[in-house]
Amino acid sequence: MLSFITRRLAATLAVLLVASFVVYMLTANSGDPLEALRTQNDPASVAKRATLTEKLDLDTPPFFRYFKWLGGAASCVIGQCNLGISVIRGDEPVASALGNAMQSTLSLVILATVLSILFGVAIGMTTALRQYSGYDYTVTFAAFIFYSLPIFWVAVLLKEFGAIRFNEFLGDPHIPWWIAITIGLGLALVVQAVVGGHVRLRLRTAGISFLLTSGILILLDITQWLKSPSIGIVGVALLGIGLGALVLFVTSNLTKRTLQLSVGATVLAVVAMWFPLQFLWFYFNNPFAIVVVAVLLAGLGVAAGFFLGGDDRTEAMRVAAITGALSTAPLVLDQMFMRWSDYVQIIPLRSGVISTIGANTPVLANSEDTWMRMLDSSTHLILPTAALMIISVAGYTRYTRATLLEVLNQDYVRTARAKGLPETTVIMRHAFRNTLIPIATIVAFDFGAVIGGAIITERVFAWQGMGALFNQGLREVDVNLVMGVFLVTGVAAVVFNILADLAYSALDPRIRITEA
């Protein structure tokens, strides 16, 4: 395993070196950093030119300058990055400029990638299972349209309709009953198409989902939930039950009594922990609290699985632990929503809740309260993430659909069905895992595209991320800045590739990287 990773790393690093050389030479030759000064007749400009030439070491040919830069970059390995200084950012060291930018961009990119995979795979699987149905055709057509959308166009549209109009709506959140019923009907139509089956089953699912959706919407309107949203212990309980059911479904254990018991006990434990955890959230106001709580709840799940698992003890422990760890999300959300009313007071009146500018509100950037900071970043992340997702999701959907259809034609799926396994088990255990193998490769490829998308999205939403640095650097021929951005994206791409390789070997027992 270790030797595989080192060999892989060495090969990719060599490739990265060549690529960095290419980018360096191209950027260095892309323009003249002194251009603005050359056109001035001001006598001081000669002196300025001389200092700038010295600072940027312009008398050295780019070929040799690259190796100087490389020497500085190589010292990152021993923890002292010297990526040069950025002249256009007031001689700020590139490493420190990148530090801030990296955080916001990578959080955007990773969030968008993860969500795209989740949604894309889920939608793709449902379309494959309902092949050649109306739902399949609709989604395929929608995927084609999304695939053809220019991201900068989508981002501007989202800014207008997703933020400005939605903020107006949030200012006076009133859902008329006819809108609630229309949304309910629309969702019912989609749900029955996904669930499929005989017309009787379809009518029943449609009826239930219609009543649920419209009911919830009308309830939200009556209780004015959107004005002061909160989750509370009831919300945590409901979300926990939903998560538990989802985990059971995905692991195809929905009908097993012992597992139902273990997961149910875990959810109960989470709800019971809600009150004591309030103290932890308050006194341990730090992002690490999430990790601590996740581990704690997973531990509770393991215990529940151990005592209630019966014959399926190992499986029960695993499933319950996953449920417990995932239940941290509703708890954190609850903390964020508790600060909602304060948050609405703090943010500038004009901008509204869903923000279109920057990665955070300047006043809150250094807030002591982690959960408040998180709420602030979330409202800023929503739109750029949505813009990035629209395009990625379409790709994953199409790819998952094609792969799952191929897998479903394999002999081992026929065997599984012939053994009399329930269809859920066939899909989730036999087909789904094999579908994930080729998708792992696509993730690494897609990552580069998402980075490119982020550069554009950041510009539309005025983020001070790596996209902004790259734009600025390239426009004014600041080679060090461009190379800094390239280095981060390149390293991220390498990391993603290696992760994909590892996922590959974990998913497919035929691939043994230990012996290779």
Binding site: T12, V199, A449, L474
Partner: protein, 355 residues
């Protein structure tokens, strides 16, 4: 399966019965005939070809085009009018994309005279969008052509010859793939870009990587087949084996991926122009128009809707054509019998259906 009594079949019937239904459908037809037939059955693809044809015709005949020259704006020495450097071929549309006209409606609202409206300077948006489509299509065609040729040649050589040349070419491909496409495109565009032709050539020179990998994989598999041995025994040169024997067998992969590459190319070009690293003023591209009018979305939405609409339509058409080609070349993706239709299920449920 029910058993039937078979009366002694002659050999021809026996041979026929061994063919599947699919094989019988295409029996005795050449590959190109089969592909063409299947392609023309794909309604979305055929519609897309027609729509794309109409757009190309509209874009090039309406405002005409300009050939040669630097494309810079200049003032005509005789009457002081703004002209472009180069041979101008005019079209049937009365307005030029680079001239300002008096604003006819309040705020430049779309009217019969200017159907797509006008901007603050009085420029006719229809003419600008048409010119933008021309530029984008030029870039896309160049990228598609160059990337396909390079991808096929590099992939074919790497896959057929193998050895150190293969390793070298594939490491080169890796080096280009690891640079995020937009970053590479922006750096190149900033260096030598500016007009459609140079941008198209530059992007074409770096977009072949994905196709090269696919072609290489295909060649690695096909070169072990018997027909290659047969050709070699017959004395065919490597060149002939690559281009006359193996390449026609992998034409499906090449055509389909070239199409998909082109639909990605239009998005890349417009994105680069949006950032200001692609086609730059005084030339026009669809992305550049959107970038220029980005702030005016509230007051003059038509400046924003039309260029975006045409980007989406062109990209969508190319994608659908690619999908049609894929279905035509890949006989595995056949139409399957539909499950019982919903309306019939309904009739059964209400008891009024025919059995």
């Amino acid at each position: 399966m029910a058993r039937k009594k078979v009366t002694a079949p002659n050999t021809e019937q026996l041979a026929l019965s061994e063919l599947t239904i699919e094989q019988r459908q295409i029996e005795g037809l050449s590959l190109s005939t089969v592909v063409r037939r299947r392609f023309f059955q794909h309604k979305a693809a055929v519609t897309s070809i027609i729509v794309l044809g109409i757009i190309v015709l509209l874009a090039f005949t309406s405002v005409g085009t300009i050939v040669g020259g630097t494309g810079r704006l200049a003032a005509d020495t005789t009457n002081g009018e703004i002209i472009l450097d180069g041979l101008r071929i005019s079209g049937w549309w009365p307005f030029d994309w680079y001239k300002n006209y008096p604003i006819t409606t309040p705020g430049g609202l779309p009217s019969w005279e200017h159907p797509f409206g006008q901007d603050t300077l009085g420029k006719d948006i229809f003419a600008r969008v048409m010119r933008g489509i021309q530029q984008s299509l030029t870039v896309v065609t160049l990228i598609g052509f160059l990337a396909t040729v390079l991808g096929v040649v590099i992939g074919a050589v790497a896959g057929f010859i193998r050895g150190w040349l293969d390793s070298l070419l594939m490491r080169m491909t890796d080096a280009i793939i690891i640079i995020p496409g937009l970053i590479l495109g922006a750096v190149l565009g900033r260096t030598i870009g500016g007009n459609a032709i140079s941008l198209g050539i530059l992007l074409g020179l770096v977009s072949w990587t994905g196709l090269a990998r696919l072609v290489r994989g295909e060649f690695l598999a096909l070169r072990e087949r018997e027909f290659v041995d047969a050709a070699r025994v017959a004395g065919a040169s490597n060149f002939r084996i690559i281009f006359r024997h193996i390449l026609p067998n992998s034409i499906g992969i090449v055509v389909v991926n070239a199409t998909l590459l082109m639909s990605a190319a239009i998005l890349t070009e417009t994105a680069l122009s949006f950032l200001g690293f692609g086609i730059t003023a005084p030339d026009i591209s669809l992305g550049q128009i959107i970038s220029q009018y980005n702030e005016a979305f509230k007051t003059r939405p038509w400046l924003f809707w039309w260029p975006g609409f045409f980007i989406v339509v062109v990209a969508l058409c190319i994608n659908f054509i690619g999908d049609g080609l894929r279905d035509a070349f890949d006989p595995r993706q056949r139409n399957m019998p539909k499950s019982m239709s919903l309306s019939r299920q309904f009739r059964e449920l209400t008891g009024g259906g025919s059995k």
